[in-house]
């Protein structure tokens, strides 16, 4: 017992709990004392934390939270977007005394987070991806998200530059606004290089279906697509399949460059540390809940992966120029005239939708040039 107390693992735990005077206390005492005067933050993931994708990106930010003084983190992985997430939230609130909960998956928001927020008005709920609306949703709920479509636009530039067939492929889970916005931004980026480029979309129906994702990748490649990207929870299978078949890929959520040393062009990555620390700081300082938090490249919420070896100097230059404009905040992606792929005008000529425009967060169309159907 005395020996284990001084081992590295135990010291780490002590440090995380931050109880300097607790060296003489027993572990149980530490736990209780820690819970009483610390902010307990609960984090809920829809999949495993090391999935090379969505959950990993969240977990990287949570790792930074754990280093903040006065914060204790409790986590649960693989919580489905059903009533199960309500049970997890209740357990975190009642058993772990959590007073701030990060619900990181899109489907947690309505009705699960909203229901819990009404039941526990003193607990704060931060949801990733939802659209918090003043007057409609409770004050103790907040939503944070990043304008990752900026990185998707940059991906599109790189993709259309290396593509020979000018047919690009996008494997998506579900036709929700964020996914559609990514697909459309990818196409618009590609069309800024080649106005004839097209994007073929395959919807697999769920966030993690490895066999279907591999099948989708293969059938797209069979149809002449030579750059693949995706919006699923873990792009691992898709990037690996693309590499095996000798076509290019753009990553998503986190960097998959390691998985495809030859074909990886660039990717759209999250950097959640900024919003996470902002929300936790507001809670620690007793300031009101941050209800609506958004940011793009400029704010450090998202970042592109470093370029792979296949991207030409010319394409890099073009992408860097657009990125510089985005960093300055004067590069709107969606501007009129913009048609959807059924021929209907979705953004009228002369109209420009800024990145912050909430209209973009209820996107329900695929723009002209995307082959697919919502």
């Amino acid at each position: 017992m005395a020996q284990t107390r001084f081992s590295a693992g135990r010291r780490d735990i002590l440090r995380i709990l931050g109880t300097g005077a607790a060296a003489s206390a027993l572990p149980f005492g530490i736990g209780l004392a820690g819970a009483a005067d610390k902010l307990v933050v609960g984090v809920i993931y829809v999949g495993p934390r090391d999935d090379f994708g969505y959950n990993q990106a969240q977990a990287q930010a949570v790792a930074a939270l754990k280093k903040m003084p006065g914060v204790k983190v409790v986590e649960e992985e693989k919580v489905p977007e059903t009533v199960a997430v309500q049970k997890t939230m209740e357990a975190m609130i009642n058993q772990d005394k959590a007073s701030l909960i990060f619900a990181t998956s899109f489907g947690y928001f309505d009705p699960h987070v909203l229901k819990m927020a009404e039941k526990y008005p003193n607990v704060r709920f931060a949801h990733c991806g939802g659209l918090w609306t003043a007057g409609k949703h409770p004050k103790n709920v907040g939503s944070f998200f990043g304008y990752i479509d900026e990185c998707q636009y940059l991906d599109g530039i790189a993709a259309a530059s290396v593509s020979k067939s000018k047919k690009l492929g996008f494997i998506a889970a579900k036709p929700i606004p964020q996914v559609l916005r990514n697909i459309n931004a990818f196409l618009l980026g590609a069309r800024s290089v080649d106005p004839k480029a097209t994007v073929k979309v395959i919807f697999t129906g769920d966030w993690s279906l490895p066999v279907k994702e591999a099948e989708a990748a293969n059938s797209l490649i069979d149809q002449g697509v030579d750059v693949l990207t995706c919006h699923v929870d873990s792009p691992k299978v898709i990037v690996e399949t693309a590499e095996r078949r000798g076509v290019y890929s753009c990553g998503y959520h986190a960097s998959q460059a390691k998985l495809a040393p030859k074909g990886y062009l660039t990717g759209a990555e999250w950097d959640w540390q900024t919003p996470y620390t902002q929300i936790v700081k507001a809670t620690l300082d007793g300031k009101p809940m941050v209800n609506f938090l958004r940011g793009g490249l400029k704010d450090g919420f998202v970042k592109p992966s470093p370029f792979g070896p296949a991207v030409s100097a010319e394409a890099k230059k073009k992408s860097e120029a657009v990125k510089a404009a985005m960093l300055k905040g004067d590069f709107p992606i969606f501007k009129g005239p913009l048609l959807d792929n059924t021929g209907k005008t979705v953004v009228a000529a002369g109209k420009v939708l800024g990145q912050q425009d909430p209209l973009l967060e209820s996107m329900n169309y695929l723009v002209d040039g995307v082959i697919g159907q919502v």
Binding site: G47, K200, I202, A216, I221, V237
Partner: protein
Amino acid sequence: MSETTDGLAFGSLALALLGGALRVSTPFLFVSLGECITEKSGRINLGLEGTLVLGAMGGYGVSLLTGSPWLGVLAAGLCGVLMGLLHGGLCSLPKVNDIAVGIALMLFGTGLAFFLGKPLIQPQAPMLPSVELGAWSDDEQIRSALRINVLLPVGLALAGLLHWAFRASRWGLALRLVGDNAAAARALGYPVVPIRIGATAAGGFLAGVGGAFLSLYYPGSWNEGLSSGQGLMAVALVIFARWSPLRCALAALLFGAAGALGPALQSQGITAGYYLFNAAPYVLTLALMAASWTPGQTLAGAPGELSFTQR
């Protein structure tokens, strides 16, 4: 969307379905052949979904550690044998229901695999090699459709072998006798319980190998959504195939093609109703179950000792 004529698109779709059938069917094939052996002995092992997932995890882990994917396949098979022995052993205790044990083992196997498999999600293990049956063609689509793994022909050959063995070999007939009428088998001096345990273990071995195919060849990665119910569908498929190994092989190919239908149609630009097409394998399972369970008809080919044929 209409770059190709209808005829060409149709050929391309057929090729995509063929490719899908060849790529996706192997786990169905191995699990259903394994279940076929088990059910012929008079027991149902519903836990093969768990065995498949555990085999996928074990195979991936061993391939990663040893650098040899074939050792991974062997390890996956051994995981399956252990699961099979557990099921066989538990069901040999008095008053134990094989279906309930199967469901318990399904949850146990997937849970254990997820728990032990946490550190395996990130690393890349060496993959099984593929065989280029389409090397004669210049067409990339044909070549990719005919790029198969050696486990597929092994599985198909095994289906033929089992078909012969169930009819003509001594142990095959003993197995069927045990499954059809335990009392008669006992009277003839066959050890009923050991044969059943052996059949469940053999079934587990094949299901484990099916799992190794998932993690080591296609899609070729370990993660928790890898199987998404394929083991369960394969068990249903045995009933549809009426306990015939050859029909199991056909049904596995059919399920593989059904799984490829959704992505194949969307990549061709046929995008309406993709939810329906994506659900094709499940719809097929339901439809086939409904078709083969017509009330009032006897269940032709069902082993007499199965718990649902016993009255």
